[in-house]
């Protein structure tokens, strides 16, 4: 395994030299022919064996796994931002995985909590395998250098996370995600993974059912080019930015992967399952994580009441997210909150923990309180309200054993994928290990596949590239357009989705939102970007992302409208009960060439855990 790359070698071998459509002159092919194991690519397009889109935990783990599986393969990670700028970095609370069995915890219990937390929309066979892998993943992370917080014996420390029957949320202070990302990046560098930063995947090409590569835009130069790959792993993260300013996730969480999959004819599974986190800061939705409640923080309304006792008396603040989020919104709706409308909030109080404990275990959270609300939570309670947080839905993956999509050569992992671990509601701490575990599996299988596969013909890929090249010219070409058109639309989309498809949903709100979406789409299509410069045209990047958000919103709306029941994070005020008879099923959304969306259903895999009412 080569560990040392000079910058020149890096550029040569990663060598998707964009703008090098006429590759014969660049020597790119030669560089790749040397690293590739099977028939060299003769189409004249830049190529590599395993192409990974996204550099969060899922992408980074996939890359290392692919390199380890087969060091002869070229593995390139593409990301629209630098590797450490992903959602993974922002995670604070911790990562689930059973490594301590002394108190009666087991993989089975972890799986059971996951199934129950997901309101039984979880595929149970998947959950069991996932829990097994999660335990192993914690040790592996420790071994590759992750500095977990330690207990008195020097082992990985753990805290309580919502919806869990045992304490199994392993953590590194309240910066678990940041520390995890940096550990994974270090490990990827160690294993000679190559990066293409500032490259935006615009589309994915599936021809004759096989994945043949992706269209990339080099944000730095503006060049748009096809890249062929024997296998592709989509690890592009979630789409919670459909609620634009009411989400805890970074600006990049625009569902690019899911949208590209839809356009390529693949399935977007359970798109309506969007999770709301109970405790975002009032302004801008940034998260005060579960760790605050895990450490003993309490929620108070304007009467000074610890109101969770009304909803889940035995779990109080530690009930699963969907329930706590709804409880807070109910307090707000019933007038027991501070402030009004979008500014309404309740209080989260950790002051009783004492300064020392807060500084040691919750420093990041304290910092956020200071930054966004000017409130020091060492001294007083902080204003919070729910915020969109996680996408349970994603690109349909057939099995956790491979993380393969139905299109040979295409894999998906992490938040971008949906292999039904989280069902209708994800438990705190389950997503970092989802990204770590599924990323690794996808990487191994992508490498295995690439070792045997040949490059596709690349015809459709070429057509798509030409389409995007002219699209850029069309959208930016005239240099005309109002600066605020796009940004205003983005805010409006976010607000409309929040009001109509947020924590409380009804038929009439959802139908109204459908009209809105049609109007938004028309307005979107008319937008022109007044910036003709191809160099780092971030406005165009944002334009493309907004298009993806619109697609993801429409898919989510389709699922939300059809699912006439309440389950997990999907709460219908007109259908208050869960309806297992009709909806113990995954919604499967596809899109045809004309842009029309279709809905199908797939039965949930039930196993040893009895379907029962979800009570806490």
């Amino acid at each position: 395994m080569t560990e040392q790359f000079t910058r020149r070698e890096f550029l040569q071998s990663a060598c998707i030299t964009m703008g090098a459509l006429a590759v014969s002159t660049t020597g790119v092919e030669k560089a790749f022919a040397a690293t590739s194991t099977s028939t060299p690519n003769t189409s004249g397009m830049p190529s590599c064996d395993v192409l990974i889109i996204g550099s969060g935990a899922a992408g980074l783990r996939a890359a290392v796994a692919a390199r380890k599986k087969n060091p002869n393969l070229s593995v390139v990670v593409v990301s629209k931002v630098m590797p450490t700028r992903s959602a993974t970095t922002m995670a604070e609370g911790g990562i689930n995985g059973v490594i301590d069995f002394s108190e009666g915890d087991s993989f089975e219990l972890h799986a059971k909590d996951t199934v129950k937390g997901g309101d039984f929309l979880v595929d149970q066979d998947t959950a069991l395998k996932f829990a097994n892998y999660a335990g192993a993943a914690i040790h592996e992370l420790d071994y590759i250098g992750m500095p977990f917080s330690r207990d008195s014996k020097g082992n990985v420390d753990k805290r309580y996370a919502g919806g869990a029957s045992k304490i199994r949320c392993n953590f590194a202070s309240d910066k678990t995600g940041h520390i995890l990302t940096h550990t994974c990046l270090d490990d990827a560098l160690k294993h000679g993974v190559k990066f293409l930063m500032d490259h935006h995947m615009l589309d994915l090409s599936i021809e004759n059912g096989h994945c043949e590569g992706v269209v990339l835009r080099n944000i730095r130069t503006g060049d748009i080019a096809p890249v062929r790959a024997k296998s592709v792993v989509l690890a592009t993260g979630g789409y919670t930015r459909v609620f634009w300013n009411r989400t805890s996730t970074p600006y990049i969480a625009t569902g690019d992967g899911a949208a590209a999959a839809l356009r390529a004819g693949l399935i977007f599974k359970d798109p309506e399952m969007l999770q709301f986190h109970p405790t975002g800061v009032c302004h801008g939705g940034t998260l005060i994580t579960e760790a605050a409640r895990g450490e003993g923080g309490i929620l108070l309304n304007n009467l000074g009441e610890r109101f969770m006792k009304r909803y889940v008396p035995n779990k109080m603040e530690l009930a699963p997210r969907d329930i706590v989020a709804r409880s807070i919104e109910t307090e707000i709706r019933e007038g027991r909150a501070f402030g009004h409308d979008m500014e309404a909030y309740v209080l989260l109080d950790v002051t009783h923990l004492g300064k020392e404990k807060i500084m040691r275990n919750l420093p990041q959270i304290r910092h956020i309180g200071l930054l966004f609300e000017n409130m020091d939570l060492v001294e007083k309670p902080i204003a919070i309200r729910p915020t969109a947080h996680y996408s349970m839905g994603g690109i349909h993956v057939t099995s956790i054993d491979t993380m393969a999509t139905p299109a040979p050569g295409l894999f998906a992992a992490g938040e971008a994928s949906c292999v039904s671990i989280h069902g209708a509601n994800r438990l705190g701490g389950n997503s970092l290990c989802d990204a770590t575990v599924t990323g690794k599996i996808a990487g191994i299988n992508a490498a295995e596949y690439a070792a045997k596969a040949d490059f596709g013909a690349g015809k459709r890929l070429n057509d798509l590239t030409l389409k995007w090249t002219s699209h850029f010219k069309e959208i930016t070409g005239s240099g005309k357009g109002n600066v605020n058109d796009m940004y205003a639309l983005r805010e409006e989309l976010g607000a409309a989705n929040w009001y109509n498809m947020g924590i409380f949903r009804t038929e009439s709100k959802l139908l109204a939102l459908a009209d809105k979406h049609a109007e938004f789409q028309a307005r979107y299509d008319a937008i022109r970007i007044p910036n003709t410069n191809p160099v780092f045209n971030t406005a165009y990047t944002e334009y493309v992302e907004l298009g993806n958000l619109l697609l993801a919103s429409r898919a989510a709306l389709m699922g939300a409208t059809a699912r006439k029941e309440s389950r997990g994070s999907h709460f219908r005020e007109d259908y208050l009960k869960r309806d297992d008879e009709n909806f113990l099923k995954h919604s499967m959304v596809t899109m045809d060439e004309s842009g029309k969306m279709h809905l199908d259903w797939k039965d949930v895999v039930v196993g040893q855990f009895k379907i029962e009412e979800r009570k806490y």
């Binding site: 630098m82 992370l141 520390i179 940096h182 801008g284 410069n533 191809p534 160099v535 045209n537």
Partner: protein, 319 residues
């Protein structure tokens, strides 16, 4: 009020002035202000941001020449710091290649990171199956450096990088090397120390600018000192850097230990010796030299003088 922003469109550099109402931005962070300008005045303005909560490191920029993390800086703080100035000058981080406006190229920095092999190689007694064991004290020793978010602020402020970046790396690269070399789980610190030495470790001039501005309160300068001490302890003490270190150490120890004596050393030995003054700091942190004895009075005071001297020496050296 006005924001003068340094711009680069891929071909030419220019400045552009944006006028905004103070009331529109005073409750915001600096990142909020940049977003305001982009979304209301000029969407061709480019900068990078992702988490808006001071953890992803994407939003480093300079204000009036000093580096800040934009999302972690409130406008009110800037107003205070610059005495209610009504004009601010915003520029990209220094010591990076600018791609566009305030966006800079991180690729070379990542490749530098690759050089020090930041990935841990765990001791043989640990395994992938069972993980590692680490006590609180060992954990505490490294956890500060793990706060580094790769924001580039330290590199932007680094005098050595500004003077010559051909034989030096971004300060945080050494911090990364230090954190893994210093980890109780590591099999061999030299895996990371050696490439640090080979890639400029002895060229730090210990001006401490990196430390002064790091939003996460990390001292890359101290980590560099720590790496040097480790290198010398492990016998990596031949070559120009360590030689200078030794002679400078002798100068300091043999003279009366007063600051003007150091100036004397400067006069007699020339500028290059002082350029290695960092060694003194190295030795101090290795416990071989008591800074209080040398400078008399308070450590920080003496240190300030030292920093000034190095800067002066540095400027002279450049001429």
């Amino acid at each position: 009020m006005k924001f003068i922003i340094d711009r680069f469109d891929g071909k030419k550099n220019y400045q552009q002035t944006y006028t905004v109402e103070k009331k529109d931005i005073e409750a915001l962070t600096l990142l909020g202000t940049l977003l305001f300008i982009k979304q209301h005045l000029d969407l061709t303005l480019n900068f990078t941001a992702s988490c808006r909560m001071a953890i992803c490191g994407a939003c480093g920029v300079r204000v009036n020449g000093h580096s800040y993390l934009a999302c972690d800086t409130k406008m009110t703080e800037l107003f205070e710091e610059y005495k209610d100035a009504d004009t601010f000058r915003i520029s990209p981080l220094s010591n990076y290649t600018v791609i566009s406006d305030l966006a800079v190229d991180w690729e070379p920095a990542i490749e530098n990171l690759r050089k020090v092999k930041p990935g841990l190689v765990a001791k043989d007694k640990f395994s992938e199956k069972e993980g590692c064991v680490q006590n609180q004290e060992e954990y505490d020793r490294i956890v500060g450096q793990w706060d580094c978010i790769l924001c580039g602020v330290c590199a932007s402020e680094c005098n050595k990088l500004s003077a010559d970046r051909s034989d030096y790396m971004e300060p945080f690269v050494y911090t990364h090397a230090w954190k893994v070399a210093n980890d109780s789980r590591t099999k061999d610190p030299m895996i990371h120390v050696k490439p640090s030495v080979a890639n400029g470790l002895w060229n730090c001039v210990h001006c401490h600018e990196c430390t002064n501005r790091c939003p996460k309160h990390i001292s890359a300068a101290d980590d560099i000192a720590g790496l040097r001490a480790l290198a010398m302890k492990k016998g990596l003490n031949s070559g120009v850097g360590p030689a200078h270190a030794k002679s400078f150490y002798t100068d300091l120890v043999e003279d009366s230990g007063r600051l003007n004596e150091i100036r004397l050393a400067l006069r007699t030995e020339g500028v290059s010796t002082v350029l290695r003054a960092g060694t003194a700091v190295t030795l101090m942190s290795a416990g071989k030299m008591n800074p209080l004895e040398i400078f008399g009075g308070h450590e920080i005071e003496g240190h300030k003088d030292l920093v000034k001297m190095i800067e002066a020496a540095h400027a002279a050296h450049k001429e």
